[in-house]
Symmetry: C2
Subunit: 394 residues, 2 copies
């Protein structure tokens, strides 16, 4: 836990920031806006993001895997561009609104999420007119709905058949069912059978304990692929992966691409599960101590409307995030706009007005709660970046 | 639990809706937009809102209490206007951005939240130039910061001294401390001593079991008021209340006003704690069944980015919201965009593509996740309403 925060000092004019959105131009203006950055602010360390992106890109290249990062984490065109520049083959989204926001940046999109209603499918068919679009399906209803819309829009949507590999959320249950759905798809106009998709979202074991889980994933994917092959169908794409299993993806035989999302920023979920260190966490929520009226406690201006109620999956009792400057402190309770911090174990007590940097338990929903984040270069310059797909729920 | 949902049928053209924001004008356009309302949609029943507002207004009038509703729940100027039209004396907010959004609607605002940094205080001092603004304080630092900004802006900010009545979050700990802070305030330019504020947010006992809690609140407020009076200070305002204790506020002696927020919409927190019935819940999240691949389960297009991870405070094991059409179903698990629903106890299984109406555990953070909600009149007409203070974190 020897993490030296490299945040610009946001409480003093020496921490320079430019607010791109309000077009601050002179150096004086830049300094002024930095000293007044309103909290709670989401501050992203550019250097850490670049390192996280290139580390995964190198791993994937070494193992012959393509990367299709999930943009649900950052929801930002600028972050997607960095990922594509580092060699990502395309982008992943969960919702149609996200796909619409990411289309200007990426001409190869995968919606790893079912679409069954005509409103969604028509928007997807429109997106498919301007580049590659694939959608994961686990029902004939989804296939029919997508095909109808694609035919109407004169476009083609690529389909990946989702197979459940243990999470029990979406995805058909057996390799045989993937075959049935694949055969159904291959007879229908407007859609194109492209492969198989799985989401191993249940694997939160440490990297060196993932092997039994991953071998189950492997054998399911292999069985499905073999069945398809026997029946003359090809799974050109076998798409898997999420951040916890990202660096073990080479252990899953047959995988062609991975779709991690959180790895770009990381959070206390990935830290406490042992997938990365504190210094790999690019996203800090900078907040202000607003009260110290209660003994052994301070209150910060970040509650569930900033940090969400998401607990830390591998350490549910660890509180609502990690305070970089006070590692012994514990965020014990959140209201909507208040965070109660137990400081009884701290050698020094944070003062009213002091700014603290929090690494949240789960970064993805925190990003979704705001319109912009602050992109900080190592020299201290900070630029506001729009979170383009914020609140794109449908 | 005999609740008949009065939602317009959003899947058929007969459920009319006008999209005010896109300016749909002809009847054909209205019908068209209703049948395509994208899910997950937040749909608000106008009739229930009106009843909830007038019920509280009548109760307060009967007991000589003023109502200053907390706008954090709806974050909407239109809802605030309805509350003011029903006699609310002013509006409550938590953050400065909310105050700025509510100022056009309300000329009497209370920020029931500490402000200690110059950025926030300067914005507040500006707001105070155009009408009444009060802020709750629990430290000398807050008083100094607000006073400095108010003097700089040539405005005056009214202050309420917050006393902790059991939650242990913010507020000074004893009546004696309220006196000390009140005396400090009364000697400082730019601020005006207006009274005492408390937040009984720890009281989740049923209405008929609240008396012991409320008598503690009473005695603390009485003691503080008596001390102030002995020292020649007047607490013109004694502000308390939240939704769970709203209808027991007359049991707290000396209270001049209450600040409930949730009562306008209600949610499963208020239902399961026994404060209201299902038919008093004005806010439904309409979502779509997107998968039924797993036995005894369906998946809806609403996860934590729609419903949040907030558990139901009085019934933590009750799942992530109540499905109106399937009372026996249980939303067992949320991912960011998926809701897994156990339907094993349902006599009928929801179909893929079917729309379901969910009453969330905690409505306030759900409203904050979106830009608009749909305001439905009993005749089925639906208008989109902007959530003005959405994402106002600072």
């Amino acid at each position: 836990m020897q993490f030296t925060p490299q945040l610009p000092d946001l409480s003093h004019p020496s921490g320079m920031a430019s607010v791109s959105e309000i077009g601050a131009a002179t150096e004086e203006a830049l300094v002024h806006s930095a000293s007044r950055l309103a909290t709670p602010a989401l501050v992203i360390q550019a250097a850490v993001v670049r390192r996280n992106i290139s580390r995964l890109a190198e791993y994937a290249k070494r193992h012959g895997l393509l990367v299709r990062p999930h943009t649900k984490t950052h929801k930002s065109q600028m972050m997607a561009r960095l990922q594509l520049e580092a060699g990502a083959v395309g982008l992943t989204v969960a919702k149609v609104g996200e796909a619409e926001q990411m289309r200007p940046t990426g001409d190869d999109l995968l919606m790893a999420y079912p679409a069954v209603d005509s409103a969604r499918c028509e928007r997807l068919a429109e997106i498919a007119r301007n580049g590659t679009l694939r959608v994961a399906v686990d029902s004939r209803q989804a296939v029919d709905a997508l095909a109808t819309s694609a035919c109407g829009a004169n476009s083609v949507i690529g389909l990946l058949v989702e197979i459940d590999v243990g999470l029990g959320r979406t995805g058909v249950g057996t390799p045989e069912e993937t075959l049935k759905l694949a055969q159904y798809i291959s007879g229908i106009r407007g859609v194109r059978l492209d492969g198989i998709l799985c989401y191993p979202g249940h694997i939160w074991a440490a990297a060196d304990e993932q092997e039994p889980f991953l071998s189950t994933v492997s054998s399911r994917l292999r069985a499905a692929q073999a069945l398809w092959s026997e029946h003359g169908l090809e799974a050109k794409i076998i798409s898997g992966g999420s951040t916890p299993t990202a660096y073990q993806s080479h252990l899953v035989q047959g995988l062609t691409e991975i779709r991690p999302g959180t790895y770009i920023f990381n959070d206390m979920n990935t830290v406490r599960a042992g997938f990365c260190g504190l210094s790999d966490c690019a996203a800090h929520i900078v907040c202000t101590v607003i009260s110290d009226a209660v003994k052994d406690q301070v209150v910060i201006d970040a509650g569930t409307k900033t940090l969400t109620s998401d607990l830390c999956i591998p350490a549910r009792e660890s509180g609502h995030g990690f305070i970089v400057e006070y590692p012994e402190a514990k965020i014990t309770r959140l209201s909507e706009e208040h965070g109660q911090v137990d400081v009884s174990l701290c050698t020094k007590r944070p003062k009213i007005g002091e700014r603290l940097s929090i690494i949240p338990n789960h970064i993805c929903p925190c990003v979704n709660l705001r319109d912009v984040f602050w992109w900080c270069e190592p020299d201290g310059a900070a630029v506001s970046v729009k979170i383009n797909a914020r609140g794109m729920l449908s």
